[in-house]
Symmetry: C2
Subunit: 479 residues, 2 copies
């Protein structure tokens, strides 16, 4: 149980109830109280603050209703997983669309506490992680550090050469990506690499994106001053013919597994997109290949980068799903003209990934652990994926499921009288975190009368949690 | 010995000599060949490429003269430390000042190979590092990972709360910084945090900087589109009265130990600077406290942030010098108005530091290893600092030494007929890396007729290397 630090000011304008509410909320959002921590009972807190019990009850009730804490029968109040809540509370002000942008995509992907059902996308299976192999590689990297003391000093701005070589070799084998280690920049996460890419490509660009899309990328483009054009898509992905003729010089796509729809872009569409890029100098396609590792049916879909000899595809990948989100290791493969521009203008930035971390990942790849781990995880995720599909398929309230057969989440279109927000709020009150598809749309592009679509991540759920979660959803939509 | 991969094209426009030179240079700059690696002998390479020995000799000679490789008598050719060379070769194009900006500050701070004398600033003592304590903390963090599996998932965007708490406690004790963990953002290096700060503060600002200054920060400001005004300084640092009245709303300073001059800003000047900030809304001072940990004489100088109750100081610190440059852990302390703006606009960016790394640093601090390590290193660096001063003080060709008594380098003004570039080139040819003060000036602010000033970093040098390095310098300037 966590001690709460609350300074009440009886002379303040805000009521005592509000002060308690604000103080606890701030501690949760600031990280002082973590997911799963138990709060003092209302009775104890009232006594220690010398306020009435009903004042604390009111503050706790407000926090429960907003999803910051949850009550467990007979056991007290616990801090919830606040993933996705942050901006909702603070109001995310992405200049272009602040009024219409209710919520950002999840950020703080903590594991759900006991009794919670975390169906948010982007969760990996923590049980199945290759702890032994990772520990072995990390320990060897520590010995490297001591043996070759130069590892304490700054390394190459693009990342350790050995790591880049190992990633290139993997990308060629698994994704058909054609690149040399010299073209690769290792960085601390996709957003950082997009920031860097923005500096390489230059300011004032207009980028075409699908909608819905990966909103972290959208927000990053907004922050660096890019104009974003939401381009219509069909079942094959972005429609190159719909890209405005004007100033668009970049297209951000996820051809192998679009987030969040799961669309796979067929070859014909890829060629159309490449033709669009080729039609003008300085046009580039950013291929975000974020969770292409996990495909459960059919053959692996090679990267767009690998099918073209043109210097027009920028390839972006990450170890977030395939190793762990908290590792913060992503990689960017630049076409040669952009590599040259990077070297001229941005190579003064030191690497953002610690050399120890780079050496650990490098050893994990070089010693074959990575691909063994992927094979194992593919089996685990396929099992979860198949179970979730099976649990949903018979339900009257499920109209359609899409984005299956790959990745760590599916999308389920519901058939019910509630809005997406209402379903999500009801689910949250019952201990279940879900993300609505609306949260992935670039401002205002989704029609408000469409049926709710939920993204259901299954990466870190047990069979029991999935079964109970689907029961909760059923209660929410049929109530 | 490293195998060279050189594809010669006899039909190419470039001569065979040029092709060999270019290929080896590219491998060194791209990281394929590392500092200290031995090249094949000219005879062997000529045989394997089926070219004449004199062709290879010419290419090697060119590489030696440009400082990419060095010959060791009777032993062959070795790859040099290419720190600081990168932009020189590629031509750094910082838009505003490309013509006048010959070179960036060092980036790839590899340890000097045997026989090399690496006097570049920013090197830490690798021998004295607390390997055992660090390994213990890293291993405990690995166990944390396995025990609390949520550490695999993404953490708080500002960094682990426990780490922020530990850093705040240290900063308060050691630097007088007043802050709460909620105000701190942990990030992968100072440049990344400046990029983030640029987004928080908003585009189109004008920042006042001293000249000479820390050019990494200068380049970062240029890249984010800030206008930089070089403000005159005297022996007390930046002159607030000289800050142009126009649009300047930021001042970037290092009050406790200015880089590269070593100036300490006295209290009176600090108050003047604070008054400048207070005179207009939205004015902020960025206090970069980069190597305040190492002071060898007199009492510690508290931070500027700690002496004011105004919300006008942004504090930036790093573990690069105090733990290791390759750890990539820095921290930013935001005044409350900017914290609020960060939460509204930038909190969607995931942390750039891996949680394992954060937990390792956190344990290193919490268990007291960090402060013990600092105390030990202060002693080691004081010894090196005093020795270097003593070696230089009697010399006829040393006109003045400044920036002493703190940090990991001193600056020596020479009295000789050569230019700074000539001294540095001669030193490099004799195996000694030094950085000239001119490289730290914001374009064109240094008068070309001034005497050469060298920055002499002593962090990772042995007594023998320092003695021999000073002898080499003597040969360079008196030859």
């Amino acid at each position: 149980m966590n001690e709460l630090l609350i300074d009440l000011d009886v002379h303040a304008k805000a009521s005592l109830y509000e002060q308690i509410y604000t103080s606890v909320r701030r501690d949760i959002m600031g990280g002082r109280l973590s997911c799963g921590e138990r709060l003092p009972s209302a009775r104890l807190l009232a006594a220690s603050l010398q306020v009435s019990r009903s004042t604390v009850d009111a503050a706790y009730a407000q926090l429960v209703s907003e999803g910051y804490i949850q009550a467990k029968r007979g056991s007290g109040y616990y801090v919830c997983d606040v993933t996705g809540l942050y901006d909702f509370a603070q109001g995310l002000a992405c200049e272009e669309h602040s009024a219409r942008q209710p919520q950002s995509v999840p950020r703080e992907d903590k594991k759900a506490a006991g009794g919670m059902y975390n169906f948010l996308p982007g969760q990996i299976d923590a049980q199945g992680f290759a702890y032994n192999a990772w520990r072995k590689c990390a320990k060897e990297a520590l010995l490297d550090l001591e043996a070759g003391q130069q590892l304490l000093q700054l390394g190459h701005p693009q990342g350790e050469y050995a790591l880049r070589r190992a990633v290139c070799a993997y990308l060629y084998r698994a994704r058909g990506v054609r690149c040399e280690p010299e073209q690769m920049i290792v960085g601390a996460g996709n957003e950082y690499l997009l920031l860097l890419l923005g500096q390489i490509l230059g300011a004032q660009r207009t980028v075409a994106m699908e909608s819905p899309t990966y909103l972290q990328a959208y927000h990053t483009f907004c922050r660096i001053g890019y104009t974003v054009e939401a381009v219509p898509m069909d079942a094959d992905g972005m429609l190159p013919g719909e890209i405005p003729d004007t100033d668009v010089s970049l297209a951000y796509v996820m051809p192998s597994h679009q987030f969040p729809l799961g669309t796979v872009m067929p070859l014909r569409r890829r060629l159309e997109l490449l033709a669009w890029a080729e039609a003008q100098p300085q046009r580039y396609i950013i291929e975000d290949d974020h969770d292409s590792e996990f495909r459960y049916k059919g053959r692996q879909i090679p990267s767009l980068q690998g099918i073209t000899k043109l210097d027009r595809v920028i390839y972006l990948g990450t170890f977030s799903n395939s190793i762990m989100p908290s590792a913060r290791v992503s990689y960017l493969v630049l076409p040669l003209p952009l590599l040259h521009r990077y070297q001229q203008t941005c190579a003064f930035y030191a690497s953002t990934v610690s050399r120890m971390q780079q050496m650990t990942v490098c050893r994990f790849l070089e010693q074959g652990y990575f691909e063994r781990h992927l094979n194992k995880m593919r089996g685990i995720y396929k099992g979860k994926h198949d179970l979730l599909l099976q649990l949903l398929k018979g339900k009257r309230w499920v109209r359609r499921i899409y984005g299956g057969n790959a990745g760590l989440h599916i999308a389920a279109e519901l058939c019910c009288a509630l809005t997406e927000q209402e379903v999500a709020a009801r689910a949250r009150a019952l201990g279940m975190c879900v993300q609505g598809m609306s949260e992935c749309y670039i401002a205002g592009r989704r029609k408000p009368d469409e049926m709710p679509v939920l993204l259901l991540g299954f990466g870190n759920l047990t069979e029991k949690q999935m079964r109970e979660g689907v029961d909760i959803l059923e209660r929410c939509v049929e109530a």
